[in-house]
Each structure stands twice: as C-alpha cells, then as structure tokens.
Amino acid sequence: MEYIAISTGFALMLLGLWGILSQKNLIKIVLGFTIFDTGINIVMVSIGYVKGKAAPILDVINASEAANKIVDPVPQALVLTAIVIGLGVTALMLVYVLKLHREKNSLDINSFKDLKW
C-alpha cells in the first residue's frame, strides 16, 4: 500500500517537473507546479504510514493502546501546512499570470523576452 502511494507521489513529481520545463502556456506551467506540490505531499504522507494502522483519530484515552493503533501524525500535520502554503503560492502565481496577460495579451511564455539576454 505505502509503495503504491509513494511511487504515485514520485511519478506526480516527475510529471509536474516535466510540465514546468516543457509547457509554453503560463497557466499550464502553474498547473505543473501544483502537480509537483501534490506529489511531494503524497510522498510525505506515505512516509508516515505504518503498516496496518488507522488514521490518527482516537476514540478513547488509552496511552499504551493508542501508540499501536495509529499512523504517524507528524507528517500529516506538516502536509497540512504545506497544502496551505502551496495554495498561497498558486494563487500568487495565477495573479502574476493575470497581470502578464494584461501586459502582452498573450499566455505564451515565448512572448515575454524583456529580461532575456
């Protein structure tokens, strides 16, 4: 199970990187970043997986039993943070795309050569 999740995560990361590097449309590049992000999050969550254990939500307070019942909650808490930051970064990139489109009326990255030497 964890192998499926972690390999999917790595595959998504590669897919996102390919999108960032090869696409010409700015929106598609932003989507590439989002896919990369999702891949990293999946990898992080799957690293915290413990075989045969359930989500870290408890029914009763039982210190000795709880440790044998749940998966690692720390990566999940980190991913929660990462998702929110990813959302902020995506929103910011999309707004920059919007502004760039206003400037040149084009979404093609090849039409923005002002800073290219």
Partner: protein, 234 residues
C-alpha cells in the same frame, strides 16, 4: 531540439534521485519517537481526539500562527498587485447574463456550503478537518456567489473586520495560555472537558474557529480582488 534533450536529462536525473529514494524506502513497522510521544500523551495532555489537530494547534501552534500570517501576506500582496487606479476602472463592464440554473441553484447551495464549512472548522478537534479546510470550503461558497453574480463584490469592510477580529482573537487566546496555563497557545486555559465532546480540548475549538474565519476571509478577499481586477480598462 537541444532544449528537449536538456529537459529529458533533468527529468532522468530527478528520476534517478527519486528511484534511489524509493528503493531505500521501507514501510514503517512502528512509530518514530516523536510520533510515539504524541500518540501516547496527545489525547491525555491536549484532550483532542484528532492527534493531527493536537499537533497543529497546540504542540506546534506557533507554526500555525506563522502559516496564517503567510496566507495574510499572500492576500495582501495579491490585493497590491491587482490594485486598479481610479481612472482605469471601467464603469460598465459588459457581462454575460448568468444562466437561470446557476443563479437559482447557488441561492440554495451557498448557505449549505457555508454551514458545511462552519461544521468542519468547529469540529476540527474531533473529525478530520479543521480551520484550513473549513475556511477553504467557505471561500468556495463565496466563489460560487461571484460566479453566479458577476457584479457581486466582496465587501472589504466585512472582510477586514472578520480578519482582524479572528487574528487578534487567535493571538489573545495564545496570550491567555501564558497567563492561565503552561505557555503561549497552551490549550488548558479552559478545562479539557469530556473527551470526544464538541466543547472539549480546552480552547482548540475556539482557535480553530478563528483560523477558519480568517482563512475564509483571506481566500474570499483573494477571490474578490481577482474578480474586481476584471473591471480594468485594457
């Protein structure tokens, strides 16, 4: 042509790194040391059923405060970038009339979406969920309102008040932790209550409600700014 080969080379290199990481990965049989502590003592010390919430809001609450700040900064930068000068505003932007279906359906669905969002962040310490997903759900309701009525503008006054009150409330509750409990953002200001009940886990439900309102207000502000940016003259 050479570009394609460079891209292929980078992808192959990254693939190699990932494969190396993947082949070294072995599934865990037991929890790590930190996780073991949280699992054993989290429910007892914090009183939240959801251990992830216990970590996010209490053990690493300061981190979450920073996270909320980052979201606030993002919203502020977006508003700054999308600012339109008064003389550039198009008085009557031509808009397409919304379909009857979307218009009627949104009036029914939007209150339900808001209710679901509030439910998610109020129950953050009991169920998978919390302030961030709850706030995002509320913002999706605002998005539906904007889509169904293109002239709808998100009120800056409401957003500013909700955001300020929830931000200040979050910090004040944290400071109360210093005064009445073990330290900044300690949740034992109120009693821990019955495990698994809505009013339990000290101040976690209140902090998560503030976070939910703040995230919802910030995301709505971003959506409103993007929607308003369409009024600019070309």
């Amino acid at each position: 042509m050479i570009k394609k080969w460079i891209i292929l080379g980078i992808l192959a290199g990254m693939g190699l790194i990932f494969f190396d990481l993947f082949s070294a990965f072995r599934g865990n049989e037991t929890l790590g040391k930190t996780a073991d502590y949280y699992a054993r003592h989290g429910a007892e010390e914090v009183g939240a059923s959801n251990i992830v919430t216990a970590i996010v809001v209490t053990y690493r609450g300061f981190d979450t405060l920073g996270e909320v700040t980052i979201l606030f900064l993002t919203a502020a930068i977006i508003s700054f970038v999308l600012k339109i000068r008064q003389e550039d505003i198009l008085p009557n932007r031509p808009i397409r009339i919304t379909s009857e279906l979307l218009d009627s359906a949104s009036q029914v669905i939007v209150p339900v979406i808001f209710m679901v969002g509030i439910y998610i962040f109020v129950n953050g310490h009991l169920t998978p969920g919390g302030g961030f997903p709850g706030g995002a759900v509320i913002a999706s309701g605002v998005l539906l309102m904007i889509l169904s009525n293109p002239n709808f503008s998100v009120s800056h006054k409401v957003i500013a008040w909700v955001e300020s009150i929830s931000g200040v409330g979050f910090v004040l509750l944290g400071v109360m932790g210093i005064l009445f409990a073990g330290g900044f953002l300690d949740n034992r200001v109120l009693g821990l209550g019955d495990f698994g009940k809505l009013f339990s886990a000290g101040i976690i439900p209140f902090i998560y409600s503030f976070i939910g309102l703040k995230v919802g207000a910030e995301l709505s502000n971003i959506l409103g700014a993007i929607s308003h940016a369409q009024n600019e003259k070309n």
